[in-house]
Symmetry: D2
């Protein structure tokens, strides 16, 4: 049986483990105040071409989303997200637990559209009845989206412009950022994100690390972020574990290199499956493949590979997801193509 | 200019003011622990035919909703509501501020449907991926709904049955309860509510009182509700003000009597407007009238009466709401009919 | 039996009831957007000599404290209060329910001391270990305090100076403000409060109103306070009820006039009791009297008057509180003095 | 320079790293639903002699404390803790952020005393004025305490009895549990904890793991704990990382074996320092040493070793903490003794 359930089934890139073993017994101070973290921060900012931001390392995605959103919103504010956004659906109410509503707008291929955001916010200026509603205090998007789709640079710039017009921060969830940036169809760079967003994060858990997300915050935007992270239970005692991983991923371009591998293998698999007559449900140019399967196709697939069931349609068809990762081996893809 | 913006434009029924003036200088202990409140509680329970419930008096609707919902839910739980539910739209995120998500389901004429609720909850049993989602911990409905519509007894029984099947409480927002119960089309009684719900409240603010909501809770459901009310800032120091109002409203059937007046006047207005060619947008058998107006009609209406703008449709038409109340005078209705 | 349990045992000043009866059937728009509220706000600001602040009317004290504190703090911040502060002891955790810690400092006669605050805050600058602790984000004091004591102008200025030095807001709980300002020993005025605090409120519930607190906020300090009030369930539908009461209290100096009466009667009672050998526990120059009673004295008192038990000391003595109010009649005091 | 700042300066026990390297590329399902976690749970429960509890693996201590406490408390409840308890002082308000007050009682050598707890809770039954206060909903103790001291079995049984009398859960923070259990002076076992507590956790971060705490919960106490963990951002995607670590620590008694080493070295250091005239501030029989130093002694110590400054006393003396760990080498201790 092959396994393509998700992109976090393996541990860490071997280079990370190597350094971990090497550093294991070196006494290091806690909470990310050590030199390894300092160096990792420097490298991340260098990759962003933006030495003036702050970098904080957190452990996982839901934790990062709820910590950042709580840190940015005032009590009466909510966060705008696509109805398919991770924070709206799959975080067990983490955002609401911090006191804030997720204000969902309809998605298009998993994406928000700048003009939709603009029209939504507009109501809150001038129309008194909206004073009884949750005020939109920030915008959250995922890049790539939960459907593996990408914002073009033009789309991202348009959303950023709307946010600046209304003076609310733009936050990009980059849990799979590497797999977006490494796609041939992506015209957005780390430097663009640093320029257009107020906060974004570079996902490690799904792209080469054991765990970890590197949050890049516009300088001065969130005073005392350290204490907020601690309060959220998101401050790792041995913070150097996070620094060491990001330092490795941002040395010699490892992060994008291993992401590119996953995207290339996904592309190869997608094209092979299309050639065999399988139908894509979303056109994802990243490491996720969404297939629309008839009951017969589903039965066949089940014999060969484990996957994530995405949605059962009323017509009896099923949407499933296959995900490649930095750790996917060519032979696995070959075998999967052969068997399907 | 006439005023039909909403049903809380006047103060209290004169009998209430009379008693208030009379009692004003009598020294009374605080926080609702006084005899007037005790007597009011007794009368409310008598009206419900349910001497075994608890009654708590709170000041307003949003406060009551957030206090009750917070009191009932565990951290990982949310509250199911119609997408048009007051808690989902017009309470500035009060529910989320207490840490809980409002889980919206599509409405039908402002109402939830029992089978929709059932199917929604079903997913959370057996399907592991739902463990990453907010668990449905209670059901909230409004009676009448925000659109002035009514649940039939059969519909309410069906929803109650679903709630009991899944062992989650049913909560009925009765901010306008009198205007529902007093409608000719309503086959639900206070005794039915006491039987079928776990918590419901009898709105005073919109039905004869200066302010106040009487919350009826199934005995033992919420230990130490007093402290929770205090914590929410919802405990009135001079609690006897609430007791005195509900005692008056529940003496000699005053509550339903004055509600019936409002509903009758609304009916008279609705029929007269229909005769003149105005179109209803929702068929509300209670004290609210929703009109669908062309731009020309709207212009005419604006000259005569103040109202609440409900929705601007894409085709240029507007939905407005006119509301009668216990205080509406026959002459006002006559005049409004004449002028429109 | 006489009743001196607290200062909120009666309803409202007769002039308020008169106006309420008069206005009762006048249709008025909701949520405090009406003309009566506007006029009341104008008069409150005039009394403060500070036309540039905002005034919001809320219903009760705990509600006001939790709403203001939540509105001012960021997530990692707490509020400094005396260990005897109302928010620290008697609000059922309302502040914590909004996500914030009450940071208690030792009290001196119910009061905070400026230098204590200064030293406490100082630690959070420069000492890294304090980054794991709740950051002090504002200062809360009560005037008069829970023990009926008063801050002198010099003490208030010193605290204000510390707050400005560290750039955190100063919030004064004035639930009994009238009884403080009306004391002969008070050298603080409304204008001083407006000058030295960032937020303070003028208590109505305990000083002449049925209910209501007028919150005065430095302009621009809390954007969209209206929505925050709504979210907290603290927005009264018939907001004009609050405006009408404060408009009456701030016409012709009624507020201070009736407060002065309560303070004078308390003084008369205190002096008479001292002459009879009763011992004060705190020296309160306002409307509250704290007596230290032997078991025998307590037994005697119990026969004559209802009171609030404040504290049982280990040596068998008991501290009780008697409170006068705007509504206390001279004859009651005469009788109480005679009987004790 | 030697380093004895804390007990989490090194990575993981070599056996853990070995297994990590070995398992790194094995595809494993997420969120702790894998076989390694199942086996680790089995071994932990076996060590507790209590096959009927639930085990959940979380990443760190603050996270565990706030997740467990939130999961157990109703809205109006707070958690009783020693004034020196970690949740009361050094978690940046994590408990308050979840809506609950920490109810601090005076400590004796860092410990709560059963009779103090009993008297505190007693007030909330029968005395109405306590209905305005936060209700004590659970008890939190640390074993060992923040001062390295230990509860005897008799003390623990007494506290457990009080909790059962009042029907509130007892929660033991075992961030350093190993160093407690391994102390010669400890007469409490894992089986005792399983018998006497409702929830406790076995700290890994400070005792041999890279990170991780194993929470043992009485069966049925917290329905849907998985979702609550997710909501708190505390669910590790690659949950097997936690399972693997605890599986290793609970194979062949490794956990207690390495803890015993740390305690033995601490004892050796403590006795040597005493012999040299250094004074202990707390008598800690575990892995922490608290020294009371004159300014001259402090100056000498500073040249030799890094430590944690605990407290500056008014008389100019300083309390510092030195901590050994599972990773402390004998030679380090020898050198430290020699140099001091």
């Amino acid at each position: 049986m092959l396994h393509f359930d998700c992109d976090y089934m393996e541990g860490a890139h071997p280079l990370i483990l190597e350094r971990l073993v090497e550093h294991n017994m070196v006494k290091t101070i806690g909470y990310g105040c050590d030199d390894i973290c300092a160096e990792a921060r420097r490298k991340v900012l260098e990759a962003c071409g933006n030495p003036d931001s702050e970098v904080h390392f957190l452990v996982g995605g839901t934790q990062t989303n709820s910590t950042v959103i709580k840190a940015l919103l005032r009590p009466h504010e909510g966060v705008i997200a696509a109805s398919t956004g991770h924070i709206a659906v799959h975080e067990s109410g983490a955002i609401e637990a911090s006191g804030h509503k997720v204000l969902t707008l309809p998605h298009r291929n998993g994406k928000l559209v700048a003009t939709d955001i603009d029209h939504y916010i507009e109501h809150f200026y001038g129309d008194e009845s909206f004073e009884h509603m949750v005020f939109p205090g920030m915008v959250y998007i995922s890049l790539p989206t939960e459907y593996g789709t990408l914002y073009s640079l033009a789309e991202l710039e348009a959303i950023s412009e709307v946010c600046r017009k209304w003076q609310i921060p733009l936050f990009v969830d980059g849990a799979r950022l590497g797999y977006g940036l490494a796609s041939e169809e992506c015209d957005v760079t780390l430097a663009d994100l640093a320029r257009l967003c107020d906060v974004f994060y570079i996902g490690g858990t799904k792209v080469g690390a054991l765990f970890g997300e590197a949050v890049v915050i516009r300088k001065g935007l969130v005073p005392r972020m350290f204490t907020i992270i601690k309060q959220q239970g998101a401050l790792l005692a041995k913070g150097w574990l996070l620094g060491l991983q990001f330092d490795t991923l941002f040395t010699d371009g490892l992060y994008l290199k291993i992401a590119a591998h996953a995207v290339a293998e996904a592309k190869r698999l997608r094209e092979a499956l299309e050639a065999k007559g399988y139908r894509n449900y979303y056109l994802s140019p990243t490491n996720q493949i969404f297939l629309l399967l008839t009951p017969e196709e589903l039965e066949r697939v089940k014999q060969v590979v484990t996957y994530t069931e995405w949605e059962r349609l009323d017509d009896g068809q099923t949407v499933i997801r296959l995900a490649t990762s930095w750790a996917t081996r060519k032979e696995e893809i070959d075998l999967l193509i052969e068997k399907l």
